[in-house]
Amino acid sequence: MATAIVEQLPLSQRILANIRRFFHWLSSPQVILALIMLAVMFYMVIVPLYRMVMTTITYSENDLRYAKGAVAGDFTLFHWVRMLTTKIGMMMTIQPLMHSLTISLGATGLAFLIGGSLAWLVVRTDLPGRNAINVLAVIPYIMPSWTIAMAWKVMFNNGTTGGLPGMLMFWTGTPPPDWLAYGPFPIIISSGLHYYTFFFLFVSAALMSIDSSLEEAGELAGASRMRILGKITFPLVVPALLSGFIMTFAKVMGTYGGPNVLGVPVRYYTVSTMIRSNITVGAVGDAFVLAITLILFSMITININQKIVGTRKSYETIGGRGFMSQKTKLRGMRYIISAAVITFQVLIASGPLILLTWSTLMLRSGNYSLSNLTLAHWIGVSDIRINSGEPGILRNPAIYRAAWNSIRLSVMTAFFTAFLGVILGYSIVKLRGTRLGSYTEQLAFIPYVIPGIAFGAVYITMFSKPVGPIPPLYGTFALLVVVSVAKHIPYSSRSGVSAMLQVGRELEEAAAVAGANSWRRFRMIIFPLTRAGFISGFLLTFITTMRELSLIILLVTPSTQVLSSLTMRYSENGNEQQANAVIILLIALVLAGNFIIGRFSGGSLKKGLGG
């Protein structure tokens, strides 16, 4: 019957009907927004990746020195062969890869031990001072990931590579051994102490979601406490543990700051620091081979994560409304354990800051006695006897410029990211179950599997020439914004989706039936109801961008220097006191931003982290 109607219409009307249907489809806001987002993401993610792969399989001007008779732009497997099979490859790829894996495994293991046991203590025992522990656990996350590494240097530097003698050496008189001062051991410790927050949040959320009746059922069946823990509780949190493990592992794989501060001076290279060093000498093709290797590793780990967690995820929904009625009693130990935990956390949170601050207050570097304290590095005028004539931090226009750049970058990134998040969330949720929707969701996920340093590397060649209406961006501030926004797309789309899911489609449909057009529905219904998600997304992005290093280290130029990259430059040039002062300034700005935004919006960092 229905087809009979179609056949009765003349061809012209059928074409007209098709055109009408197409425009009707196109005019629905979720479709047009998804298409725009696809185009934007294609341009920001796919094109750069494609360019990167192409760079590794063509000769560049730089390579002609090694390859006789080659023409720049020709196809070649030269980079891959060189980086994977030769002796140079051993040094530049395999060894750094081993180092990266060592550090990632070690740091993840450490973070797991600390974060997991803290989570268990907080959620499943009657430990006093739980709120304090909760708050303190988030603090390392606010600080840049290499803060502890820098502080480590202040404490343990032994003069092997120059720089300030460490505090330990000053007080004891003997230099600490090299293994303690540099290389894998300190990198593992400093990264592990930074990333334990992830584990803590992951595992405590998982533990909280277990319905205590599951454990009570075990108890009624006559199982002992240990048996319940081993046979019921632990299997239920395994997915969360694995997920936290793999996420942390992937993060440490791509981290740059710590290995640069504690590894590079003794030529202990990881993949990320090796990428930078290749870029610095112009071996872009080689660097990209490393970047692709890193991306592949990251993709594999994340894939494993999804495989494992995907099949076991059904566990997670079992709990949901569990309220812990049964907590393990720590008896007389509870106050001692609580005090120990809080002391540890306070040390992790404030120790590095105190060390860094102290180092910035020393008139003569390496002299830790109280008589040597001065504010010269902060407010001193330029004096040739101090710091090769560099003025104090608070009098240095370069610092102000970098601080201003940092703030500008973070605010702009946070704004665009939150904005994209709302749009992506809206179109993905409204297009659930359609092909367009799943393409959008999948494409938005890609930056997640690309480690920061590799993502930055992707953008080096991209935008060096004008593309379509977009002017060349290399070396501009805009490029930093673009790369930061692009890297945050997975997080923003995820938080956008969860914010949008909470709104419920009926609220918008009721408005549509009442005659509101899409813009009015967005303005009057969707935006007001997702504002809290928008603000906590904004806050989280602001903080992560403020302390972002590996993503932008390859892209900053002297005029676009931000605080995080400035600490690295000072540190590399041996101006450690400036470097340390800049970190403190950076942390102060993050805390101020957190406070201001939290004040006005009621959104909080913890909320954002949880989401």
Binding site: M1, A2, I5, V6, L9, Q13, R14, L16, A17, N18, I19, R20, R21, H24, W25, G433, G504, E506, L507, E509, A510, A511, A512, V513, A514, G515, A516, N517, R520, M524, I525, P528, L529
Partner: protein, 362 residues
């Protein structure tokens, strides 16, 4: 003022799943039509297609004389231009707006003056007996109050058609009963064509002027509540409607107006049926006695469930189970012998293969 809704050959697919299957339906002006069926039967999808919240894959929809959707002509009017009001299962009140703002949302789009809006809000709130609530936020009201406000919001902009998607299913049993009465009254007063979706057969029977029973995207029967209950068009409808459920008994038609159910025969008063049939008899149409009776069949009372105004008795004869409903509290004891009599004027006979009604009592 009442409007006809005409649906022609409507098909809606979600991927490979056909939610509405080549469905044609005319809803007469002023009708209270209920789309009734189990979940997944396409009733909500059909409603959403009428509302303009889904685009069907085939077919046409007219509201009044206006063509609001035609696949062949490529026409699909946005929901807001179809002049209809909708009540949702979870009320869908905008939580960040007061009752007043919720009610005037559509009126602002229609560019009514402040005085007109005040007037409309007052009227609509009076109609749902919620006067004086205009400054409340949705979360400050109970579920029942929120649903009244949702109805008031729909009334305030005076749509030509009311669409309701299980509006009472989130309310508790008692409130649901009250609201049924009010909704029916509301329809009676306004006279607007109403399409109401529910899976609750009692709701459908009590409120509708017409019921469309749906299964797998197809209307099984379009009829008055009375006829849907007493003359179900097929076994699906017979089984779906009625609480406790209808008794369905497989049998073979013999001569002289008898159906053999294996262990015993029961009389019928039609000659239309032959061969394998399914006999449908409502629980209240079976007479029950504690004494042997002429023509009665002996059963055992397997379980007795008194419920105040009536009682349900589950009777068994070996494998054969029968549900009987009697008035008042039953005195029958469990495991007691009982005798059942079947009224030949209360039987419906269905073809065993097709499941269609072949013969019914008059």
């Amino acid at each position: 003022m009442a409007t006809t809704i005409t649906i022609k050959n409507l098909t809606k697919k979600f991927g490979n799943v056909v939610a509405v299957n080549n469905l044609s339906l005319t809803i007469e002006p002023g009708t209270f039509l209920t789309l009734l069926g189990p979940s997944g039967c396409g009733k909500t999808t059909l409603l959403r297609c009428i509302a303009g919240l889904e685009d069907p894959n085939e077919g046409e929809i007219y509201i009044g004389d206006r063509l609001v959707f035609s696949h062949a002509k490529g026409i699909s009017l946005p929901a807001g231009q179809r002049e209809l009001g909708m009540a949702f299962q979870n009320y869908a009140l905008w939580p960040h707006m007061t009752v007043y703002k919720n009610l005037t949302f559509a009126l602002e789009i229609q560019k009514l003056s402040k005085a007109q809006m005040d007037e409309r809000v007052k009227e609509a709130l009076a109609e749902v007996q919620m006067d004086g609530y205009q400054d409340r936020y949705p979360r400050e009201m109970s579920g029942g109050q929120q649903q009244r406000i949702a109805l008031a919001r729909m009334l305030a902009y005076r749509p030509k058609v009311f669409l309701m998607d299980e509006p009472l299913s989130n309310l508790d049993a008692r409130l649901r009963m009250d609201m049924r009465g009010e909704l029916k009254r509301l329809h009676h007063v306004s006279g607007a064509t109403t399409v109401y979706v529910t899976h609750d057969q009692l709701e459908a029977l009590t409120m509708s002027s017409t019921i469309a029973v749906m299964k797998l995207g197809v209307v099984q029967q379009l009829d008055t509540p009375d006829r849907v209950y007493h003359f179900p068009a097929n076994l699906f409808v017979a089984d779906f409607i009625g609480n406790p459920k209808v008794n369905l008994l497989e049998g073979v038609v013999k001569g002289n107006n008898q159906v053999s159910l294996g262990k015993f025969d029961i009389p019928m008063n039609t000659n239309a049926a032959t061969g394998d049939v399914v006999v449908a008899v409502r629980p209240e149409d079976i007479d029950i006695s504690t004494q042997p009776k002429d023509g009665a069949v002996q059963f055992i009372a397997y379980s007795v469930l008194p419920a105040g105004a009536d009682s349900t008795i589950i009777a068994r004869l070996d494998e054969l189970e029968m549900t009987i409903k009697v008035n008042g509290i039953s005195k029958i004891k469990m495991d007691e012998k009982i005798w059942l009599t079947f009224d030949p004027d209360a039987l419906n006979l269905y073809d065993k293969k097709s499941g269609d009604l072949i013969a019914s009592h008059v």
